[in-house]
């Protein structure tokens, strides 16, 4: 091979080729590098034939710039656009992510409750437990999301064409089966699951830890102390009603979630539940206040007023909701 003096000083060219090469898959790399080197030499030769007074460095710079940025050129050698999670797999990824995040929420709620159940009553702190639940959820959700993403990134690279095609038209769709445009019966799974979690929490809080609910303060010994605020009489009166309402709500939410949309039956049941809620609110209005009476008359009076007004607003709100739901149901007939 004939090596001219020029070829020995081609550091720029070598750097360029190296930059492209390191972005290529290893199988291609050596061959592409060799080919590029040969092609760049051809270009330099042609150039020096035309512009003999150009410095070697200027010539190299010009040729390399004409070829283009190394990252660009390397990208073009790739067979297909490089995605972490490509368009064809993305929909499935979104669906799975939704399910995973919901499952994590549910699982954590249950495990928090179980661990609370097993802790000695003196050392239970509801607020701290709730805070910890949220923090734990963030961590668990992040890592679940990470795993899901990782798995789908692998799928993107390994799924055969046939499998991808299967993924796309897994549901043979029928235009007649599409839901109507303004579909008020669509559910949002995310908010349903959140609602379920909170209902479970409420059930457990008021049933198992009612005596922990109240004002929390620290004692100098370093432990949390709770002044229970819930009045036992009020609790005895209302808890059965609340429990019934929560359990029914849970059952309804679970059913709707499973069916993936509302239908007339579930809507009617929802209406019934709202009616039941209304009944509970009215009972609460005319019943004892929820907290243990304060010694100070003045405070007690004010609080009672506020409480009753809050209930009244709640009643009005529920009435409005019932009216809306009823109206919607009638319209749909």
């Amino acid at each position: 091979m004939n090596e001219t003096r020029q070829e020995r000083k081609l550091d720029l060219v070598e750097r360029y080729i190296h930059e492209i090469g390191r972005r290529l898959p290893p199988k291609q790399r050596a061959d592409v590098e060799a080919e590029l080197r040969s092609l760049i030499m051809d270009a330099l030769e042609a150039r020096s034939a035309e512009a003999a007074d150009e410095t070697p460095e200027a010539a190299q710079v010009a040729v390399l710039q004409e070829l283009g940025a190394p990252a660009e050129v390397a990208r073009r050698y790739a067979a297909a656009p490089r995605y972490l999670i490509g368009p064809r797999v993305y929909d499935a990824y979104r669906r799975v992510t939704g399910i995973v995040l919901g499952a994590v929420a549910l699982g954590l709620t249950i495990s928090t409750v179980v661990s609370l159940w097993e802790t000695a009553p003196e050392s239970i702190n509801i607020l701290a437990a709730l805070g910890e639940l949220i923090v734990q959820y963030i961590g668990a959700a992040a890592s679940a999301l990470g795993f899901t993403t990782f798995i789908f990134a692998i799928l993107e690279r390994t799924l055969s064409e046939k499998a991808l095609a299967d993924l796309q038209d897994e549901e043979e769709w029928d235009p007649r089966k599409l839901p109507p445009v303004e579909d008020p019966n669509r559910i949002q799974p995310a908010s349903m699951i959140v609602s379920i979690c909170f209902t479970i929490l409420a059930l457990l809080l008021f049933n198992l830890f009612a005596d922990r609910l109240g004002i929390i303060y620290t004692q100098t010994e370093g432990g949390w102390k709770v002044i229970p605020m819930l009045s036992p009489t009020a609790l005895k009166t209302f808890l059965p009603l609340w429990n019934l309402s929560w359990v029914l709500t849970l059952a309804l939410d679970a059913a709707v979630l499973q069916q993936r949309r509302w239908n007339t039956t579930t809507r009617l049941l929802e209406l019934g539940l709202k009616g039941f809620t209304l009944y509970i609110l009215v009972r609460m209005l005319s019943g004892p206040v929820l907290w243990k009476p304060f010694e100070m008359e003045a405070i007690e009076q004010v609080l009672t007023q506020v409480y009753r007004w809050a209930l009244i607003f709640g009643i009005i709100g529920t009435l409005v909701e019932i009216a809306q739901s009823g109206y919607r149901l009638i319209r749909q007939r």
Binding site: A43, A46, L67
Partner: protein
């Protein structure tokens, strides 16, 4: 508007690029010479685009390639494969069809 026009022109050119490249490879060529040959005929294509394109076409089975070390500098030569020739024939027919259709469509618009 200038940008839109440039993009549309790019799209148009991109569609004919592969066909023009294939059409020049009935005889074996190496990358740089091919670029020159295309340029002589009015097809301006970036080297940074052409060379990876040749590789991809080879990977798809439309081209055969081999290193030629007989000359002063080793060069990689490309030529249409058996399959490539068939594909080229089909594509040329397709192109001619397209041209006549477009002539009609554009004429009707006058």
């Amino acid at each position: 508007m200038e940008e839109i026009i440039q993009n549309l022109i790019l799209e148009l050119r991109r569609g004919t690029l592969i066909l023009s490249v294939l059409s020049q490879l009935r005889e074996r060529q190496y990358g740089y010479a091919l670029k020159e040959r295309l340029a002589e005929q009015g097809v301006d294509i970036d080297q940074g685009t052409l060379y990876p394109l040749l590789r991809r076409l080879e990977k798809q089975g439309l081209l055969d390639s081999e290193w030629d070390v007989s000359e002063a500098r080793p060069r990689r030569y490309y030529v249409l494969s058996e399959q490539g020739r068939e594909v080229l024939t089909v594509m040329i027919a397709e192109w001619q069809q397209l041209v006549s259709v477009m002539e009609q469509v554009l004429a009707a618009d006058k």
